[in-house]
Symmetry: C2
Subunit: 223 residues, 2 copies
């Protein structure tokens, strides 16, 4: 009985996600769903990614949080359109929230929307929002054992960003073990080592993202 | 319609939590529900708390994780009974999981059970497990803005532990702002500044916990 309770929610979410996807395809907008724990550096990574790609792409951000609008304000301060979603308690974004946020953005004038999901290594994993790619960030202070404990998010991510690598000397982070466990969960996805607030390693990650955007564009042009 | 979906789950959870509470009262066992993000230092804080209180209290640990048993093994290595719960995806513990874990522990030979909830600043907030107190940990690398974004967990916590204070020089953590926002959300709960892996500040936190245990005992003796 209990297992079935989540099914209607997930079914409705999938249906609305497909509608989001169709709308985004119509306007040729790529959507990245960025997931991480609270404080792993999602907003800093978004700001660094914007700095790397704003000359090439027209970018907007959808910020998901339980409460507050501090992140959207940080993004807007850089002259980038941002929509804040407050989930009011829910631990992840759902398609209907994204649908409303898309309605508030000028889709015809955008190439890339970065969605900052709610800080959480669990809930966002199961919810397709209509995005082109899910990417996760783990930060060095969280510890190298996280892939053991939260395997799902490592498995659904098309790329893994290891952030705050500049703090490696202050933490007991076994990068070899981390890399090997991530590899066992997800053999294909690249791992990008960055220090978002310092700009370190951001170019490599941004180039990967740009290549993904171009691949989707090429596919759309071919059909 | 959707809002009602969570109600039967929460109702059942509350009923089983009350059963847990009755069973724990019968044996005079105090239960602490420890909540935090992934990597905030829950297990390190538990090990430091055990070191501080094991001469006074007979302690056991219930470890909650999505997957893996690494935390329970760390605790057992210190000669402390530990039960691992794998939620298999769920982002928080529920009363039925605790009920099964209690069945596996020698309650007559225990004074204190520390429950390490799943790494998450959202989901564990709403679920009463039959514990005597909920306490949360925030770690310095997560950032001082977390109370804005996750107000609920700061509000339900009877004490707030600020961990990894030894890394303060390497992060842009505004402790004054942090303290003031926590105070506005929760004027009563103490904030303990600790560095769990270094043992720093642990005594003050452990004494607070001991005082809470003694207060519950005194109340039980009086009735």
């Amino acid at each position: 009985m209990e297992i079935d309770l989540s099914k209607p929610i997930l079914d409705r979410n999938e249906r609305l996600a497909a509608e989001n996807r169709a709308e985004l395809d119509k306007h040729g907008v790529f959507v990245l769903d960025l997931m991480a724990s609270p404080g792993a550096g999602k907003t800093s990574t978004i700001l660094a990614t914007i700095a790397a790609l704003r000359d090439r792409y027209r970018i907007a951000v959808i910020e998901g949080d339980i409460a507050s609008k501090v992140d959207a304000e940080k993004v807007k301060a850089h002259g980038i359109p941002a929509v804040q979603i407050n989930t009011g308690g829910a631990c992840h974004l759902e398609s209907d929230m994204i649908k409303r946020a898309l309605g508030a953005l000028p889709l015809d004038e955008l190439d890339l929307i970065i969605v900052e999901n709610v800080g959480n290594l669990v809930c966002p994993t199961d919810f397709y929002l209509g995005e082109n790619a899910k990417v996760m960030i783990l930060s060095v202070p969280e510890g190298h054992d996280k892939p053991y404990k939260y395997p799902g998010i490592f498995q659904v991510s098309e790329a893994v960003i290891l952030n705050k690598i500049d703090t490696m000397p202050y933490f007991d982070f076994d990068e070899e073990e981390f890399t090997s466990v991530v590899r066992s969960l997800n053999p294909k996805s690249p791992i990008f080592r960055i220090a978002a607030t310092k700009g370190e390693g951001v170019d490599e990650w941004a180039e990967w993202l740009a290549a993904r955007i171009e691949a989707v564009k090429a596919e759309a042009d071919a059909t």
